[in-house]
């Protein structure tokens, strides 16, 4: 802090600003130089920050635009470091070496817990917490917390409760986007009757199956049970899981509903199953998140015209909205870090980001109209509408040995379930025994 202030003084010498005054707005001292365009005092002049996240390419460019807006506002200098796909493997050594970035953006809430246990995280300052209380539902606050202490801000969301469809296939079959489970089944049947298999599953990518299960489960069992199952407070042998799996089997268990049958589906990885719908035009629907849009347009489909989506219909009482997302945490104690987190948590920062493509904000005070395309506006609106019943991707909340490893835990047994949906009880028992191992209770 001292050093930062001293630096600020040095920096402020040429343009006589009240940088070190900090919070004092009465002294904006309009400099004689051209720098006078700044509307408010640049409170963080001379502070440097490092932010690490896994984004590359366009996502990185967009995030850097947000950082730029923060720099313009505060005068701090922010550098971006890409962690690559495995954020944990990047941050681990830097934390151990005592040289972490000021802020890291973690792709899973599990990492928040893990780093909090290692005492690597800094608790959020009260201003940041106030910002979170204002803009986020309590559920998100809890996700960024460990042992009652708030550490993280959910800054970017992925909407996982969508079913994408190929509009021409629906037209051929003469069906409308379904609104509930029953109409989904009749629509699927009609599409199958028209000669097009309705669903393309990405069975080789286990996470797509967990996403499907989570939507059905949140819908049939409700948010309370969802939370309990996420923490393994109710066993996987619970009757609510049976119901959800039975519902799931209504679409995965029918031969003519699955493109190529289950054996082909189990060999199809994530983007390949999108190509089968939009590139090869072999199937009509795909159950996955907003990011299908990117693969769909790569396959030559126009998002919004050929590639459309409808919200995952409710299979039970609750309209399911399952989100994935990235959580920003502070790894170093600094005023700049807290200011940046506060900015990211604010509606202002969210709005800057929301104007760029490929972004969805979990912030309820970022209005849907901010988004550039009607598609994202519609997505954002479903998140805002779902309010308190929005839930985070369950498999990402689980220990990764259970919820995120090829050939293990939830991925494996949901794949087995896709292969043969007849033995629901057996699948549940195996899930439970793996879960017990992973949670160690």
């Amino acid at each position: 802090m001292r050093k930062a202030k001293a630096l600020a003084v040095v920096a402020g010498l040429s343009i006589v600003t009240a940088a070190c005054g900090g919070a004092d707005p009465a002294e904006p001292a309009p400099a004689a130089n051209g720098a006078s365009s700044a509307p408010a005092a640049k409170t963080l002049e001379g502070v440097t920050l490092e932010v690490a996240a896994k984004w590359t390419g366009e996502e990185q460019t967009n995030f850097e635009a947000v950082l730029k807006a923060f720099q313009d506002k505060t005068g701090a200098k922010v550098t971006y470091a890409s962690t690559g796909e495995d954020t944990g493997a990047y941050l681990g050594p830097r934390i151990q070496g005592g040289n972490p970035p000021d802020i890291a953006i973690l792709p899973q809430p599990g990492l928040v817990q893990q780093y909090a246990e290692q005492k690597a995280l800094k608790p959020l300052a009260s201003e940041v917490q106030a910002e979170i209380d204002k803009n986020y539902t309590p559920y998100w606050k809890e996700l960024g917390s460990a042992d009652g202490q708030v550490y993280g801000v959910l800054v970017k969301a992925a909407h996982k409760s969508l079913i994408w469809y190929r509009a021409p296939a629906f037209e051929e079959a003469g069906v409308q986007p379904p609104t509930d489970w029953a109409t989904l089944l009749t629509a699927a049947q009609t599409v199958a009757d028209s000669g097009t298999p309705p669903f393309s599953f990405c069975g080789a990518s286990g996470w797509t199956l967990t996403d499907l299960f989570e939507n059905v489960y949140l819908s049939t069992a409700g948010p309370e049970n969802y939370d309990k199952l996420s923490k393994h407070e109710i066993p996987w042998t619970d009757a609510s899981v049976t119901t959800a799996l039975e519902k799931m089997a209504e679409i995965t268990g029918k031969k003519e509903f699955v493109l190529g049958g289950s054996s082909t589906a189990l060999q199809t990885e994530f983007p390949a199953c999108v190509t089968k719908v939009y590139g090869e035009k072999k199937a009509a629907m795909i159950i996955e998140a907003d990011f299908v849009a990117a693969s769909a347009s790569e396959s030559g489909a126009k998002v919004g015209e050929d590639a459309k989506f409808f919200p995952f219909p409710k299979a039970g009482e609750t309209e399911p909205v399952v989100l994935g997302g990235d959580i920003a945490v502070a790894l170093k104690e600094s005023k700049g870090a807290m200011a940046l987190l506060q900015y990211l948590a604010s509606a202002e920062g969210g709005a800057v980001w929301a104007k760029l493509p490929g972004y969805l904000s979990p912030n309820r005070n970022v209005p849907a109209t901010t988004y550039p395309s009607p598609v994202t506006q519609q997505l954002a609106q479903t998140i805002i509408d779902a309010g308190e019943s929005v839930r985070y991707d369950m498999s990402d909340l689980a220990p990764s040995a259970f919820g995120g490893t090829d050939g293990k835990g939830e991925w494996k047994y949901l794949q087995d379930f896709l292969r043969d949906p007849s033995d629901i009880k057996g699948i549940q028992e195996k899930l439970e025994s793996e879960a017990t191992k992973a949670w160690k209770k």
Binding site: D193, S194, G195, S263, L266, Q267, S400, G404, T405, R419
Partner: protein, 460 residues
Amino acid sequence: MTDRSDGPQATRGDGKSAARGASPEPQPTTPPAKGAQGPTPRMALWFLLPALILLGAMVIYPIIFSIFRSFFDSAGDTFVGADNYTAIFTDASMLTTIRNNLIWVVIAPILVTTIGLIFAVLTERIKWATAFKLIVFMPMAVSLMASGVIFRLVYEQDPDKGVANAVITSVGDVFDSSQGYPGARPRENDAAPALENGAVVTRQPIQAGQPALLPLVGLKPDLLPADAVTAKAVTGPGVGGTVWLDFAPGGGGAVGKIDDNEKGMPGVTVEAVQQGAVKGTTTTAADGSFTFAGLPAGDYVMRLPQSNFTASFGGVSWLGPTLITPAIIGAFIWVWAGFAMVLIAAGLAAIPRDALEAARIDGATEWQVFRKITVPLLSPVLVVVFVTMIINTLKVFDLVFVIAPGSVQPQANVIALEMWRVSFGGGGNQGLGSALSIFLLVLVLPFMIINIRRFRREQQ
């Protein structure tokens, strides 16, 4: 191995010229006399130090630490004794993993060595031997990761993408091509015809003058033959009916009724069945209608036999749970056969010609020459190739990782892959991972020792 024995030799040679050309056994620890004979032990230690530090830091220390680590739990702070090792042999999925490794070790080295031997012997006789060898050796230049990606595509289920299935299905189609309308089926309601053992059957018996309606769905209209025309109901005295595609493009057609925009399905075989016995057979016309000529009056059930709907053979499910390990072994052979061939061919070139000549003059057949002369003389090389392959198969990782789709990874798993996955791939249980790596080390060690012994013997 050779690198390591080179090291001390070189340093000794540089130190004092007298030692040049001496036996390769490291001698510095037993100096015969001080002076011109060699460096002092202290001096030798200095020269050995870089190698010792490197080996110690990068080989010895990791092994010892892994052994130590394998007795602790995932967090690394609770001593669990041999628990990790018992976990290896009690967990069902681990046992699959070990079984897979056994299959690998038994099958892959034998196949690679045999194929390498066959290639080597055959290329000796052909004109363009070098070109041929170059091509067979080429896969060695491709990284295992890339080979995996290639074979992932080769084994793709869809014959339009996977070469393996493209070959199999095109051979299959020569003998038994698809006919009729695969995928077509009756709707699921009580009025629609029933599905019995793949055949479509009317629910009610039909009498003469009472046209049978056999609506089918599940087929794209553009898959109908070009001569198909709008479906027509049969009117007339005989036994007859219509088979048609009961799906109006864009929806809206009445279910089970012939609409104006629905086409007939020509060429469908129809059987008239009475009490289980087929009384007549006919084929539908371009508008989907059919009539049976000269059928005596009575009740008949109309049946569309399964042959109307059989799909062409879709190819083998290479990447399914049963064939995955053989499929990956196939890729492994593709990569390593060239390597085996080159080594064996070099050995072959070194065989004394006169022994072969003598055998031939004595009247031995080519097979006898091969069995009794070539193979025994080649055996040292064959053993080297074989043992190297055993070590390679025990360590196999990348091919399995890349070729097996996520859903069959458990069925294709091998120890090296499981070790990585347990330690870093999510579980984060480096205790169990260390135990697995030590287990793997114990498996590889005997073969390493055999190899080292061979090298020693050859050098003497």
